[in-house]
Symmetry: C2
């Protein structure tokens, strides 16, 4: 087979509140809190004109480049679901043979070459490759079977409550406000779904029978009591934990 290749250039870049993968929601519809992102298309290509008629759509497809990822494996362990590895083409994992991402985004506004969208799930600075209108009559299949994703807890109510001890919140005051919010939201995002040990979610059982979840260079100690995850301690890097 002749080796043919396609070379793409970003049409623009998106700015979002998410500086790291810990902060970004899995898909736009799974975001816990409302956020907005702005796609800025590049100047000099008449992209202002190419955006005409788009503002009359409620949703747009954003096709982007997972530029922070390299390499892929045939099987991946999704961050949600029942802790089973899945074939990568049955997932929306960023680690794919061709690192192309696809997100359906609610359109907020278009001004010139700037497109504001609601609840982006891309990291800040992600290169955007294409924008397409959402076509409800062809692309809306509410009752479609969705395999392991349909069975996973992605769309079911979050079964766990998360209580973060005041001491833990105090310790976090060492980090700046933005990062603190990121960390707390990530903790809630993961632990409200499933606080059980998971290699990608970086959750382990510690020697004392409690659990530890790693977020960036922080380690949070927690216990599970009747459906509530109690985060009672935190340690940074190799420091000792703050415990009540």
């Amino acid at each position: 087979m002749t080796e043919i290749t396609l070379t793409l250039r970003p049409i623009g870049f998106i700015s979002t509140p998410f500086k790291s993968k810990y902060a970004a929601p899995r898909q736009p519809a799974t975001a816990l809190r409302k956020s907005t992102g702005t796609i800025k298309l590049r100047p000099g290509y008449n992209f202002e004109q190419a955006l005409e008629d788009l503002r009359e759509f409620d949703y747009i497809w954003v096709i982007f480049w997972f530029n922070k990822n390299s390499g892929w494996k045939p099987m991946v362990l999704p961050p949600h679901g029942d802790r089973k590895k899945r074939g990568v083409f049955s997932t929306r994992s960023p680690h794919r043979p061709n690192p192309i991402g696809l997100s359906l985004c609610k359109l907020v506004d278009i001004k010139g070459r700037s497109i504001r969208i609601e609840n982006p799930d891309m990291l800040d600075g992600t290169p955007v490759l294409d924008i397409k209108p959402y076509i409800p009559h062809a692309e809306s299949h509410a009752g479609a079977k969705s395999g392991w994703i349909g069975q996973s807890n992605e769309q079911t109510p979050r079964p766990y409550k998360v209580a973060i001890a005041p001491e833990v919140r105090s310790s976090l005051k060492l980090v700046d406000r933005e990062e603190r919010r990121e960390i707390v939201e990530y903790l809630k995002e993961i632990l409200t779904r499933d606080p059980h040990p998971h290699i990608y979610r970086r959750i382990k059982t510690s020697s004392d029978g409690n659990s530890v979840i790693a977020v960036k260079r922080w380690r949070f100690m927690f216990s599970l009591e009747e459906g509530t995850v109690r985060v009672f301690g935190v340690a940074h890097d190799r420091e000792r934990g703050t415990q009540p």
Copy 2:
């Protein structure tokens, strides 16, 4: 801005019944007749494994390369709708800054590295770049506003009937069965929606007040009588038409 580029290699190729753009439906959901296509992924990359868990989904996203197209313009004239040029990002036109196509396809079956889908809208031999599962709870928005597409006749009932005269059908017996079927389906696809003059649909009013539509190297003469398009003549290339 630093010029960064992304180089992609096809993960496979799709075979479909559509040898030319005249034969391919606009989107999978607009196909008049049921057809199937088969995506064959390349050997030697463990793609068999990467496809695991996918067969439990009803629909899959196929991201592909519009490899027959080069060049793009900011405004395009869609084949349907009200004969107005639209900003290319508000259309699904194959002529885009990055020639990436996106189609939601009904999954029929997966065997090894072969994925059979229903009603593909890609041309035969199209390189496939990625396959992703469809996530109904995030991607199904039946009531979403869809701008000019929602207002166009893409999703409304086809208002015109098409009657092809027996003489015209006889003349077409000169071409092989596959191509004949393609031509007739394309005629119906276009004329049931809107038989009025349109540069991309290659419909003109002729000097005698009737209309002519060009399909490949064929010219079909037709008249419009109370909601019925009567195709009464056909000519090939520079030959004279067969008229009743």
